[in-house]
């Protein structure tokens, strides 16, 4: 003891930086676990109810074809995403990678695109959860009037803000969905979606369907989509339905067999998802047709949230299960999705691309405190604006979201191509995964982005809401990107280090 007392302060106070065991506990996730994670990231019950209607309005009966084709750019981009994640694992993902490849300006916009997309999906998730919350109350108490409460604008906005605030609080507290909860949620979602499909087909078989439509091979032909505009819009929407799948590819240390599990999990996940999407898409079309009247999938009134309308007629008294499945999965996604924009904002704060306070971590909960709250405020503001301006906020947000995902995924994929350009031709594997696949994927997505953005200027686009002769989707999408440009210029004035390339350097 006495020797310790005598030693100098410098020697007595040390930190064992080296000894801190980093990272995830290795080997905790097996194949099934990884598939569950993948499916829960995609949240099929939520994506279907949100995207099925808008996609039908674009491509009609060719919905199955577009759902299949939409996977291709996602797959190509995800390969590049995986390469970047392996080379530069960072919480800032697209922001960091694009900054390293293209420098600060494009990097900033890549990060902004990711943040905007996740903020938009947060507000949409909350809104869908609220719809099904009231629908479930109606089903529970056998009082259809309760379901209509969601159309009461002030009440709807208030409830949605409460949902956002709750999810933000849970995320701020660092609470996470546990394994068991996730297994149950995923199994329940798949079961209910399967039930919906079987019930819809048996209505068709019994002749009790709303508008029984015979399935035709033509539905699977993407080239039969009438125009390139419709095709582009459809693909950018179906990017949304696979969004989250890339997470399975980027899992590494947490899997039991990092060599094989991520690849297998990604394959199984996409098979499960494609099967469920095809079955439900076919069941919906076969049962309801694409008519614009009544229960038809082409009816604009149904397109914001198709299962809210169809679950009752198709599943009868068991429709409450659908409400429960969508409410639970969108609530779980709402809470976990907060992590994405919050971490990217944190990373941008950390690299001096945003004010310092965005880089704050809560001492008690170890979550990105300021960034999480900022995300919630942004999602709330976005929802209030969209809800007030649009005739069909859900529909328009999903279309704008598809556009935003194309934007930042496109940048990310090209960042991969550019970052690895020196090693692109070192063997077949490098050529395909670091060059060809991301290049193709990135170009496809950016083309979809430009085309959709151009088309959405039409005031009739999407739900048909417009301001000053411009479609609302265009105003939302471009407005968000322009806002990003303005904020970026302000930041470049306030904290120039990052924009001079002094914080994140280009290249290796």
């Amino acid at each position: 003891m006495s020797t310790e007392h005598a030693t100098a302060k410098a020697a007595t106070h040390t930190q064992d930086h080296g000894l801190s065991e980093k990272g995830l506990k290795a080997g905790s996730v097996g194949l099934i676990g990884a598939v569950v994670i993948g499916v829960s990231c995609i949240a099929p019950a939520y994506t279907l109810t949100a995207a099925l209607g808008p996609t039908v309005s674009e491509v009609g009966v060719h919905l199955p074809a577009i759902f299949l084709v939409g996977f291709i750019p996602m797959l190509l981009v995800a390969f590049g995403y995986r390469e970047l994640n392996n080379a530069m694992p960072d919480a800032g993902t697209s922001f960091t990678w694009a900054s390293r490849a293209f420098g600060p300006w494009l990097g900033w916009m890549g990060g902004w695109g990711l943040i905007a997309a996740t903020i938009i999906v947060l507000s949409n998730l909350a809104a869908v959860a609220v719809d099904f919350f009231y629908l479930m109350l109606a089903q529970l108490f056998g009082n259809p009037d309760l379901a209509d409460l969601t159309t009461n604008l002030p009440l709807n906005i208030a409830t949605t803000l409460v949902f956002i605030a709750l999810a933000c609080w849970i995320s701020y507290r660092g609470m996470e969905t546990t394994k068991t909860v996730q297994y149950v949620l995923v199994a329940f979602q798949l079961l209910v979606l399967g039930w919906f499909a079987v019930a819809a087909f048996s209505h068709v078989a019994n002749g009790t369907a709303f508008d029984a439509t015979a399935i035709a091979p033509d539905w699977f032909n993407p080239f039969a989509v009438e125009s390139f505009s419709a095709f582009a819009a459809g693909v950018s929407l179906s990017i949304f339905i696979y969004w989250g799948w890339d997470v399975t590819l980027t899992m590494n240390e947490e899997t039991k067999n990092p060599e094989k599990t991520p690849g297998r999990a990604a394959t199984v996940t996409v098979l499960v998802i494609v099967i469920i999407y095809m079955t439900v898409a076919l069941a919906t079309l076969a049962f309801a047709g694409i008519g614009t009247e009544g229960l038809g999938a082409g009816n604009p009134d149904n397109q914001g949230s198709i299962f809210a309308v169809l679950a009752g007629p198709v599943m009868g008294p068991f429709a409450i299960l659908m409400s429960l499945a969508i409410l639970s999965s969108s609530a779980a996604s709402l809470q976990s999705t907060f992590v994405s924009p919050a971490r990217t904002l944190l990373s941008m704060g950390h690299y001096k691309a945003l004010p310092h306070k965005f880089g704050k971590i809560s001492p008690s909960y170890k979550s990105p405190s300021y960034a999480t709250i900022a995300s919630a405020v942004a999602a709330a503001v976005f929802y209030v604006v969209t809800r007030t301006l649009s005739e069909n906020a859900l529909w328009d947000t999903i279309t704008a979201l598809g556009m935003m995902i194309c934007f930042y995924y496109g940048i990310t994929a090209l960042a991969c191509v550019w970052f690895f350009r020196a090693e692109a031709f070192r063997g077949a594997r490098s050529f395909f995964f670091k060059f060809l696949a991301p290049l193709l994927g990135g170009v496809i997505l950016l083309v979809m982005f430009v085309k959709t953005a151009y088309d959405s200027m039409d005031p009739e686009y999407g739900s048909g809401s417009s301001i000053g002769g411009l479609g609302l989707v265009f105003i939302l999408g471009m407005g968000v990107i322009l806002l990003g440009v303005v904020l970026m210029l302000v930041m470049a004035k306030l904290r120039p280090e990052f924009f001079k390339g002094q914080v994140l350097t280009r290249g290796n």
Partner: protein, 304 residues
């Protein structure tokens, strides 16, 4: 002697550091500051992979620990560690095992909106599972000098002997007086009779616990027995006088698994009213520890 300090970069963490410095100074102990960070759960599905956030957390934790080390005076040896686990409480318990700590020191209060002294969730989880004594720093604790008195709260249930043994040796080792405190609520019948009974009970156990030989006579003379009464436990605690440099030792409730802590409802209420730090000692802690510590060359808190 090693004490693990559960540190967080806020007022609660600073309370803990102050108490740790105070406790270490009276005993020549070294401190291990631990920042617990959560393991990223892979099942928290998100649209972006979790990879990389961990690096920020570790970097931030290291900065916090540097700030914390700067708070510790030069005469107290201290090391800092980042540890991760499923929950903060679990991580701290594992750190105690890793460093073979003799005590775990934490800030007790959360920033409760409704109660001034709410036991924080980490603290309360620790109080249900820790296997070493847990010292709880009250809100705003800023004293850093060595202790001036050790109080030992005595109930009338089994386990008093072990707790008193622990308290006596702690007072002897730190060369400070010992005070044995019985807290009585008035609904326990005739107050004078109850007070006398409590005093007899405390004195009987104290006599058994004090060292019998002549060399131990000095601390024995300083041991004091007090009975505090009030309408509630809180009031009884309020009526006692407390020195600034005092701590109160409490045994964990009988519900505890052997060698772990379970804070009884009475102890919980004491904590809310107490102006000085409280150290909660696991049931059977000292006895087991004495038999196991023979292989250990460092002197243990409870060892005379």
């Amino acid at each position: 002697m090693r004490y693990v300090v559960g540190y967080s970069a806020n007022a609660r963490g600073r309370d803990a550091v102050n108490l740790a410095v105070s406790l270490a100074r009276g005993r020549g102990a070294s401190l291990d500051l631990v920042v617990a960070i959560p393991d990223a759960g892979p099942f928290n599905a998100a649209h972006a992979p979790a990879a990389g956030y961990d690096n920020y957390l570790h970097q931030q934790a290291a900065e916090w620990l540097d700030e914390a080390l700067a708070l510790i005076p030069a005469d107290v040896p201290a090391k800092a560690h980042v540890r991760s686990g499923e929950s903060d409480a679990q991580t701290l318990i594992e750190a105690c095992e890793e460093f073979q700590a003799d005590m775990l020191i934490i800030g007790a209060t959360s920033n409760g909106l409704f109660k001034r002294f709410t036991v924080g969730s980490v603290a309360s989880a620790l109080l249900h599972a820790a296997t070493v004594p847990v010292a709880l720093a009250p809100h705003g604790y800023h004293r850093r000098e060595a202790l001036t008195r050790v109080s030992c709260g005595l109930g009338n249930r089994a386990g008093a002997e072990e707790l008193l043994d622990f308290a006596v040796s702690m007072a002897v080792n730190r060369e400070v007086p010992l005070r044995v405190v019985s807290l009585l609520t008035l609904d326990a019948g005739d107050s004078d009779v109850a007070a006398d009974a409590a005093r007899d009970y405390a004195q009987k156990h104290l006599a058994a616990a004090l060292p019998a030989d002549a060399s131990g006579a000095a601390p024995a003379a300083k041991a004091d027995v007090v009975v505090a009464q009030g309408r509630s436990v809180e009031e009884a605690v309020d009526r006692l006088d407390w020195e600034d440099g005092e701590v109160l030792l409490i045994g964990s409730s009988r519900l505890a698994r052997s060698r772990s802590i379970f804070l009884g409802s009475t102890a919980n209420r004491i904590l809310r009213a107490l102006p000085v730090p409280m150290i909660v000692v696991p049931s059977d802690y000292e006895l087991k520890h004495l038999t196991h510590s023979t292989s250990n060359d460092t002197s243990r808190e409870a060892q005379a």
